[in-house]
Symmetry: D2
Subunit: 367 residues, 4 copies
């Protein structure tokens, strides 16, 4: 049992607060012989780094990752090869503006964990949200960069598909557009950039914030991962995604829409392909049946609530039991859902890597 670990055979433990010396993760159970470079890990981290557009927090963190253990360097001096021992990765906190936390230290910001932390622990590191800081997710992304390498041929990609009441047009879906310099939103729909920009500029200037909907698609997931009951692949993906800050809902495949569907609409029919292998004619199930992957793309979606830090004063109380009105100043993302895209990818990749190893362990049916 652990409060700060996820996964079983591919097992990630993260540590660190926003304003301490550093944060990081220990990846235990990584198979030996996995080849990676520091640049690859860093590239994943850079996706979620703050300060890259006016739509995300202007806090500037280099977010430079160090790999402290668990590898030998290949002769090229660049490729690291895992040895099967724990891979410890660390990111030092460099931008810790000294400031007066006086008010935050004593007030419970609505929508934040301030009140619940104090209730649970009787003590709280109020600087930057402590353990609940979005910075903690850097450790997940680093772990996810390794996880992507475990399953041969695996691809895990994410996209922002809605922001507030604006939704992408799926007809325009273009994975290639994500990562484009003109795309600060991880949207797969080029036509949505102008719409989201205008919308979010309005939100940002009003000192407000807005929620978002993210979709993660994993391709190359072999059939057979997961288990029928309490190690369902969808269950562990849901658990991993729900563990991301501000996430309030998770769904697989057609998700909540299935509550409104009939059995005929929901069934993914099958036929034999010309290659002599069965194939599915649709993917309402999101690539998972009975908790076990079908070999189709594994599709999940999660809802991120609006950033709780807003300029509009909200009513609250302080630690001394006084009513207070709180206006959260500072450098905040108007839509924290944007930077949740690479985090969602990482969490899905970790779930799949773990189940790949578990499946291999129990059944021996994959190499």
């Amino acid at each position: 049992m652990s409060h700060n670990t996820f996964g079983h055979l591919f097992r990630v433990t993260t540590w660190g607060e926003s304003h301490g010396a550093a944060l990081g993760c220990v990846v235990d159970g990584c198979p030996p012989g996995i080849r990676f470079t520091l640049a690859e890990i860093q590239a994943e981290l850079d996706k979620r780094r703050p300060g890259q557009s006016r739509f995300v927090t202007q806090r500037r963190e280099a977010d430079e990752v160090k790999v402290l253990s668990g590898f030998v360097m290949d002769d090229d001096g660049e490729t690291m090869i895992t040895t099967g021992t724990p891979v410890s990765m660390m990111i030092e906190n460099t931008d810790q503006r000294s400031k007066d936390y006086g008010e935050i230290a004593r007030q419970y910001r609505p929508g934040h964990a301030d009140y619940t932390y104090d209730t649970k622990y009787g003590i709280r590191d109020y600087r930057g949200g402590g353990r609940s800081s979005a910075r903690e997710t850097a450790a997940r992304v680093a772990a996810g960069a390794l996880a992507r390498k475990i399953v041969p041929g695996l691809s895990v990609r994410g996209a922002l598909v809605a922001m507030g009441d604006k939704t992408i047009d799926r007809a325009n879906w273009n994975w290639g557009f994500i990562g484009d310099a003109e795309n600060p939103f991880f949207t797969p729909d080029p036509a949505s950039v102008a719409i989201f920009s205008d919308y979010l500029d309005g939100i940002r200037k009003a000192g407000s914030s807005v929620g978002a909907l993210i979709e993660i698609v994993a391709e190359g997931v072999p059939a057979g991962l997961g288990a029928p009951v309490y190690a369902k692949l969808d269950q562990d993906i849901a658990s991993n995604l729900m563990s991301i800050n501000a996430v309030k809902g998770v769904e697989i495949g057609d998700g909540f829409e299935t509550a409104r569907m009939t059995g005929e609409e929901n069934a993914d029919e099958m036929r034999m392909g010309n290659d002599g292998k069965p194939f599915f004619m649709s993917n309402h199930a999101g690539g998972i049946l009975g908790g076990i992957s079908t070999g189709q793309p594994v599709v999940s979606r999660f809802a991120v609530k609006p950033t709780s830090s807003i300029l509009t004063p909200r009513r609250s109380v302080d630690v001394d039991g006084n009513d207070v009105d709180i206006r959260t100043k500072g450098r905040h993302d108007p839509c924290v859902g944007i930077r949740a895209v690479p985090i969602g990818e990482a969490m899905v990749a970790c779930a799949i890597a773990d189940h790949y190893l578990r499946h291999r362990g129990q059944t021996g049916r994959i190499a």
Copy 2:
């Protein structure tokens, strides 16, 4: 690690298939001194028992639970008191109609786990869905009946809030109506019974099926349960609910709706109460902030897909690689979501009981 266990300090392992000798669960970690009666456990099981209305499967199972270990009998000969050792509960399978499984044994039913089981394990108990049978959930309900007793003052209640395209009127919400003899749907809205009845009769007669939306409300949850990162209370509730058969989506509080909200709309403001304690003025968060309970009702919702077994022929393949058309005869629930209500309650109760013990263990801040 385990494929058939959930929870950590309140830990439930279930076993058994639909058509074997029996199924059951082992509850490990139950505190000593918990008092319960067999009748209480049975009452929970009876809620999800088949054959109680024309809207659920006509398969008849007594579903009689036996408690095999982990208790001493009080002098009254009726009250069982837990001793802190594992509580093993068993339900024998009594209605195992012998029938010819010839076709089912060799065909992959769309929407079922047949294909994925064979892919994963290379072997499959095709009788009655094997481990994926809805009967497995009886063991969860039995465990949940114990879980309800762990946290003093805890109440966990569930309701069906939508079926297909029909939705209850929340203005009519009446917890007392659930359990009413005239209410075969676990709906809290008396006015919805006629609507759901007509709708589901149509579905049933057409040999079709439909999905549903279930809401679980836990009251009396002390503030402080959960943890900031990977032992979030909402995460474990989501994981537990997603582990129920046919569940494709889970949300907490305002859930997916938060993706469309602004920070102002989403904030749950606080004020000091006349009793000198802080209170929340709304509950968009569903009783959980930063992964930790606030003391408000913990509200979760999950989507159940339509029963996959329908009379309309669907295209599929068989184990020999032939195209086949499958029409699933037999005694099936037209809306499996109905009987998911007590199962959802049990899974939420188990998550809360586990976190109660974990919180007590780590912090010692509750008795």
Copy 3:
């Protein structure tokens, strides 16, 4: 986490007390396709069954095991094939003499867990030792019978090598003699039978008891099982053996003797064999180096304390705080170490099976 489970991928949960309705185990994570018969499981159980000679308790239990889940029956109607789902096994308690537990219920027997149970739980099932009954080990032996089948070519055999101050002559070691009808002691030394018989008859007639030393040898363990630090194969064997009732010490290979040895004496030298494979010239390490199996026999040994139930009065206290003198009547083993032999075998087999699956999961280096 669990209080009643051991193993990770091959995971055993046991439940049940001496005097309840039944006891049993759930084996989770057993690979699919393992073939076994009920007779094989029963044969292992029969080894530890009471009542087989005058040297073990005369309590008579059929100890008949039922397999309730996790298999399909092969066409021969006898061979069971695991499906990868949990294997639940149960043994009903049949010989529960009704008797007056008045004194035992209120007195703390020296050497027993009576006092610690009450201190821990505040409640205690005093009948037959409750959860600490030697009967609990029947569940382990049943699980071990399955575990033996996981690793191809594995053989796990145990022997009693000392009883009180009597020791076998290792020069006479004959595995074939164990199981012989003339051998009530699991001794590998035929010459020791007369010695042990005389010795133990004296102990038994005096109402006394005596300790024993057991050795377990596992052959056919592939090299590579275990891990360098906290999943050492020797660590998990030690943990499993120490979990057996009355065990007070565990050692691997030369064990405690190594504290007295020099580096030269302790080193297991290697050479290349004629078959082109390296071989070890000795096995002081007991088949494990750095926590990982070498491919040599894995040798462990454990000490079993004398049975605490003796006829000689011992000083103690009762639950009301009175000084009392206790004389434990009833049917007890004068040397509980004898029946510990098959239990030790089972626990070692379970540890090896678990590590075999873990090794396959992480590295994929065995099929």
Copy 4:
């Protein structure tokens, strides 16, 4: 499940190799509000630091620990207070002499894990023993320093009680002598220093090595910690101790001696004390009955094999399948058991802290 973690509620994950950038640990589950100073942690580490006498390796490591997360600094600027989030501690590797590992890289040193690493992982960090380096134990000692603070009034002390064929005189036992500047052996017997010195000088000059026996005594352990079956306190102590490098045997209380004892000799009798509380008249059981602590001192002992690195040539093979003779030069401890004393203390402290939290979680019977 994890290969590099131990404990459940007080959970320690270690990472790092001898010759990488750093090594460390993450302590998850530490209760909030535990007060400690860096100096206290460092003091524990200094106990096991190399280079302090001619009897331990002359490798010089500052072994300076940094605490990276999980605390807030008290106003005194010195006292750290845990917040309940993970405590990450790191020790940088400073003395990494660059040297030619050519031979070691390709040869399997007898008694080392070289061969088993290669067999398991197919890859190996041969520098300094990689993950099996004694340096890994620094992380355990750091975690143990925190563990000591969890249980109010707990004291965990260790002593070397035998080295090779030399044994202390228990009549001279003086805890105060351990830590004395004139005592390089952690022996509690002042008279033994001269004996051990002469003996070990001979061993050292011969390029040989020798084993040792260590005893750990934990006082102030409340009654009630542990569980009857697979979470026995003695089992987890045994597991923790056996996970230390070079440990080949573990025993509790009278340990292996109990195999030779009768029930009369082994029984710890009880009487009511003048304070109205029961007390034990002896402690053969080592403070644990039925897996649960009695309130007496918890006594464990472990055997450390002789250091495998010796100057006398030993026969072995290399990775290419050639017979080779190996003479291990370099800075090695002639008796690695000496520095095992603080490590053993740490591992016992961690086991007790974990069980304290688990007991509180399940039963709520301690504050």
